[in-house]
Subunit: 156 residues, 2 copies
């Protein structure tokens, strides 16, 4: 159920991101608010942290964290072009999709890598599935904001 | 894990909604987009549908559906004042909180009321927990939009 939900919203966000021109992604979702490109970079940087947590390996987009998480949107050109971020986003989603297909049901309830055996016993919710579960509301929070960039108006 | 997530985002959205003045909720989240009041009414109307699905009883906010789901934001005064919607929102959240405390773990994996025994056998994901799980991304999608009404700028 959780993975179905993840896949659904990644697919919807991906379609939306690819629907946007570079120019649209460089515009603000609302006056004075974050630009589309900032939200895209932010999602990649946050999802990147799931790699070590799930035991999938080291981060591959750690260079995005400072620009798209630590700091607010500079509203200026960054070292990362829209095209490059779209590619990184796409590569990252494939990585998760492939990995999620391989993980067995039981393994989702194993502890994630950043919790000790002792703490995990006290709170078994600190498992791998919960890592994915808690990233879905974060994803859709920003998906709802990215929707505001789209040219057709009035939709909920 | 799912109920923890529901409670977390209901609490955060509730705090945000109650932080807003009536005037703020009557303004648009972005130029030409939905008003805060429309999103609040929309959330109540969508969550109301969970009542019969979870077997909690009949809908109690069915009168909101046409104004806040079927139709786009009219941008005009409706029959529902901000104060009334805030009260309905609060009452609804208490109703779910009380109910969720009573449901036993196993019961969450029972079928919801709108699926037949036969279809449930084919797709056991059509259970009660999944009803709540799938409403969380919807909630946070709109929570991310409501955040844009808030007076402090630049936050992600």
């Amino acid at each position: 159920m959780v993975l179905t939900s993840w896949n659904k919203y990644i697919t919807q966000t991906d379609e939306l991101v690819n629907h946007f021109s570079d120019e649209e992604l460089l515009s603000e979702i609302a006056p004075g608010r974050n630009r589309g490109i900032y939200i895209l970079g932010h999602l990649i940087a946050i999802h990147d942290k799931m790699l070590p947590l799930l035991g999938m390996g080291s981060e591959v987009n750690a260079d995005l964290f400072e620009v798209f998480v630590t700091n607010p949107d500079s509203k200026r050109a960054t070292a990362f072009a829209v095209k490059q971020l779209k590619e990184r986003w796409s590569t990252q989603n494939e990585l998760f999709a492939n990995y999620f297909q391989r993980v067995k049901t039981d393994e989702w309830f194993d502890k994630h890598t950043q919790v000790s055996e002792e703490d995990f016993k006290k709170d078994p919710k600190r498992n791998r599935l919960n890592i994915v579960l808690t990233r879905i509301p974060h994803l859709t929070y920003h998906f709802g904001q990215l929707k505001l960039l789209k040219s057709d108006k009035g939709q909920i």
